[in-house]
Symmetry: C2
Subunit: 267 residues, 2 copies
Amino acid sequence: MKIAYLQFTPSYLDVTGNLDRAGELLAGADADLIVLPELFTSGYHFRSTQDLADVAEPIPGGPATDRLAAWADATDATFVAGIAERSDDAFYNSAVVVSPNGYEGTYRKVHLYYKEKTLFAPGDDGFSVYELTARNGTSYTLGVMVCFDWYFPEAARSLALQGADIIAHPSNLVRPDCPRAMPIRALENHIFTITANRAGSETSNGETLTFIGQSEICDPDGHILIRADHTGDHFETVKIDPVAARDRQITAHNHIFQDRRPEWYAL
Amino acid sequence: MKIAYLQFTPSYLDVTGNLDRAGELLAGADADLIVLPELFTSGYHFRSTQDLADVAEPIPGGPATDRLAAWADATDATFVAGIAERSDDAFYNSAVVVSPNGYEGTYRKVHLYYKEKTLFAPGDDGFSVYELTARNGTSYTLGVMVCFDWYFPEAARSLALQGADIIAHPSNLVRPDCPRAMPIRALENHIFTITANRAGSETSNGETLTFIGQSEICDPDGHILIRADHTGDHFETVKIDPVAARDRQITAHNHIFQDRRPEWYAL
């Protein structure tokens, strides 16, 4: 199967423009699983709660989920994309999973970063996985985490222990370390990871955040299969076999999940 | 305070020779905390259980602990070193902590690697930390893990959550990935790490293992402060302030321990 990230630079609050721009970049996409950045329709660095309220949408049923469903239908790909979610009176920094079969589910970011804490409610549903099928009939299990979740090894671990073969990781990274940490997340869990980051910068109330690009795909041995530049638009695809993630027997005597000894782990 | 690793190449089963050789390399050592490799008195790749039985020793009270106590007394340093431990009829792949005050405690390796499983009992005491004092009066908290424990993020995490400022990590690494993983263990826990690896190779029953050297010290930002070559003897020291590990507030809104959400973590 083919897995991909789309790195691009959303325009602040321009939901329709961002959906159109992503649609242009995805035209003719040939992939089974495509990951887009965190908050890809809205931009990241909100200048006010009102700005967030203006662009947050229900999931499913909002314009982003509808557009993703149209792309999934047109390309036969599954999409994972970050969206500002409105649910009753709360906002969540969410990622939606939309397959050719339609809406699959939503992940609400568990570990909020920096001023997100002043805007969003923390995720209240934990980490979930999705059973999906590639175009060639291969079944695979998808986990989702968002951006700063990478910092906490428990996030990827929780997805892998639930059976994830691949972790989709929509991001708006501003710290420099994630591109060298994700290979370790992939290695320690023996999974594939797809980090889709944005590029560009945004200024809010005098503070400029610059996003680091460097979207990347890692394999279960902790190798970087492909990494994008710091800047610019990049739609890049890698062919993988998700079944390769499932053999966690790294020596004749070591299975990295069966070797875990939770009785000694601090939680 | 000054922290250090000693990388060298033990000779198989030559306990007295290895203690003498390490003593020569440590002569005049000026450090507060010195980490030696895993199984530094015996070598690693045992050809039989009898070979292991011939060199395993009680902790404390065996020749290695006694020699470490003499070094600690002479240098005013604390030592962490890997030793084959005999306890009743069981053998453990252990690391001993010996300070200028004498024997502090033993860690029995929790995650056994490869054929260690045919020789050693798995650690039955979990992960512990030690309250110690540097020569300048600075108090610090030391955690200990051994070699393959690096693969499991829960090991370093369990030590950090118990308050470790520094993790001592005696190793006999043969896999290539630890030197790029330890900076992430340091970063995700905001701690110092000292990996003391051995060099050289050993053959047992026709199978040769080559140890990768590359002992390294990392800081709480995940930077490598010093890394040894793949081969050769290296006693290297870095000056640090262990207090720097304790501020886990990485942004105005993010404390990486208080931000943990164990209610959502799979164990």
